[in-house]
Symmetry: C2
């Protein structure tokens, strides 16, 4: 387990963290939320695309996830009516704020994959451009990567994906802006503002040990991991992820769901640990690596679905459809690779702890 970097001058250091520590963590996250919100407004999100507004949006999402996760894990220590009312609102906000970034990142991933598959040299400048494009608002559209070395099919597939995902991203941007101007959002922001100074703990919470609830969150994670097909995932090239790749089922990858679930539980476990040990405690490297593998799993899964979805566009050329098929399979391989990476990392963790 990671060391506890508690302040050695803190008289409570070494004592089990209680609801008071949770309150401190929630206040800090709420303060961070308000800071990010102010930055976001000052950076002029309506103009879109500045680095500041992107950073602010990221900080907003980050604090919302942590508040939401803590409300979930430490639910018994918080006033029920208050937390039950706030949680769905935070979920709505988190979902709304995430979409624009997700579409931009998906497009970047797919265009880079198309270049790799075309054997085209992707120059660092192009990667940087594609990379920064994911941070740019729709007013500053993703620079089209050089298509000089692409086949007609790959170039058309790239153009189609760019059209579809840029449209989705523009819509997500508008939706997020509308959300941030809505009375629903102002109600959430007001509640978070109150949280920054006053956390509605239950009467006994301030002296209740946080560990049992944190442990329960960890157990939900380990139980979910135990149910994953890790033996298969640990055999390289098991070809599991592409099974159903041509299934007539419109949602052909139920096999991904348990991994997505573990990704969420891993995040909840990390936030639960932050409340225990303080957010400045270095994140356990293995948890971080496992989380990155699951992020990659999720990203590749969604990119594969986007390629499959683009291939259902009416009247596309066969060459375009072929390139999208190759791209879909490539991303499903990425899904499989991410599962292997998770298995390797988690196995090491199990052995070394």
């Amino acid at each position: 387990m990671a060391q506890q970097h508690l302040d050695p001058t803190d008289p409570t250091a070494g004592a089990a963290p209680t609801g008071d520590a949770l309150a401190g963590y929630l206040r800090a996250q709420a303060t961070e939320f308000l800071r990010a919100l102010r930055l976001h407004r000052e950076s002029g999100a309506a103009a879109g695309g500045t680095d500041e507004s992107v950073d602010a949006a990221r900080a907003l999402r980050r604090s919302v996830r942590r508040i939401s996760g803590s409300l979930h894990t430490y639910r018994p220590l918080l006033e029920t009516d208050w937390s039950e009312a706030l949680r769905p609102e935070l979920a709505w906000l988190s979902g709304t704020l995430t979409m624009e970034h997700a579409y931009a990142a998906r497009l970047e991933r797919l265009l880079l994959a198309l270049h790799r598959l075309s054997g085209a040299t992707v120059f660092p400048a192009q990667v940087a451009a594609a990379s920064s494009s994911s941070h740019a608002g729709p007013a500053n559209p993703a620079p089209t990567a050089d298509r000089g070395n692409l086949t007609v099919g790959a170039a058309k597939a790239g153009a189609l994906l760019e059209r579809q995902l840029t449209l989705a991203r523009t819509r997500a941007h508008s939706t997020a802006l509308q959300a941030l101007g809505s009375s629903r959002f102002h109600a959430v922001a007001d509640k978070v503002a109150v949280l920054a100074s006053e956390v509605p703990l239950t009467p006994t919470a301030p002296t209740t040990d946080l560990h049992p609830l944190a442990t329960a969150a960890e157990e939900r994670l380990t139980d979910a991991i135990a149910a994953l097909p890790l033996v298969t995932a640990g055999h390289p090239y098991n070809a599991e992820a592409l099974i159903h790749g041509l299934s007539p089922d419109p949602a052909p990858h139920p096999q991904d769901a348990p991994w997505h679930q573990v990704r969420l539980l891993l995040r909840l476990h990390r936030y639960a640990r932050e409340a225990l040990h303080g957010e400045t405690t270095p994140v356990d490297v293995r948890l971080l690596t496992a989380g990155q593998a699951l992020d990659r799993h999720r990203d590749a899964s969604e990119a594969a679905a986007a390629a499959a979805s683009a291939a259902r566009t009416p009247r596309i050329a066969p060459a375009t459809a072929y390139a999208l098929g190759v791209l879909h399979a490539d991303q499903r391989h990425e899904v499989e690779a991410a599962r292997f990476a998770f298995q390797q990392c988690w196995q090491k963790q199990a052995v070394s702890t």
Copy 2:
């Protein structure tokens, strides 16, 4: 190294095998060739598709490869004019006899992959049917696997591949039959008949140790393996095999060539060992495993090319092209998996010997 299963009553047992042993090996292979040829004629190859004719064709190919390989490895021990005249004829014969089987196996591999990718349960009976189809002549066309669970795209892709590869196989069958009736073939058969009783060794060959030439063959193999990108191949999911998967280059996979070359050199090494130790010596399991990985590499590489080629058929539906793209990428993934399997097997070999 494998044990030498020499006849314990043989007074030369334990002595280094010389050109005499090579002559014995070549006589045995020539005799086997003549036996297989007689069987092939008796089984009525013109009617096509009987198990006997398939077995006979396989035995013919097998002996041709061994004679041809020995002429190559032990060239300095054989009369130059004779062996230089025979070698290209054996190469022609081997190539001609291989094609029908290769097309049948390729179709089987691709149809099974389409079923796997469709998430359709492939019942053992279907696999058996698909499997035996590769042994059947064109008069007994490959039974179409049940397409009930395939998407329209996968079913159309399967039908297209079946049409194209069955046509290629039928042509290869006719070509092989014509070849076996040609005066060119009769000239080869006559030479092999002579070889069955009299091997044209050089004057000094009967007492020349075979080991230096066998060792040279092994060194050509180990040198070629040393030049393979085995470090990359040993990292699962390195995504190398699909690079250039959408390349505009019509022969986009020069990266496969060194592996194909190692496959041939491994075979030459195996045959060189057979001449040394006798054909009844059990094959070194690790050589066999390495050879199987390289066979799989070659088969997947050619299946991927067949899928890509089918996708260039004019006027196919986008759904067909998409399925062929997924199939192509799946087979390139198999190529990568085969390289990984070879690396694992060869690394073990290097450690344990």
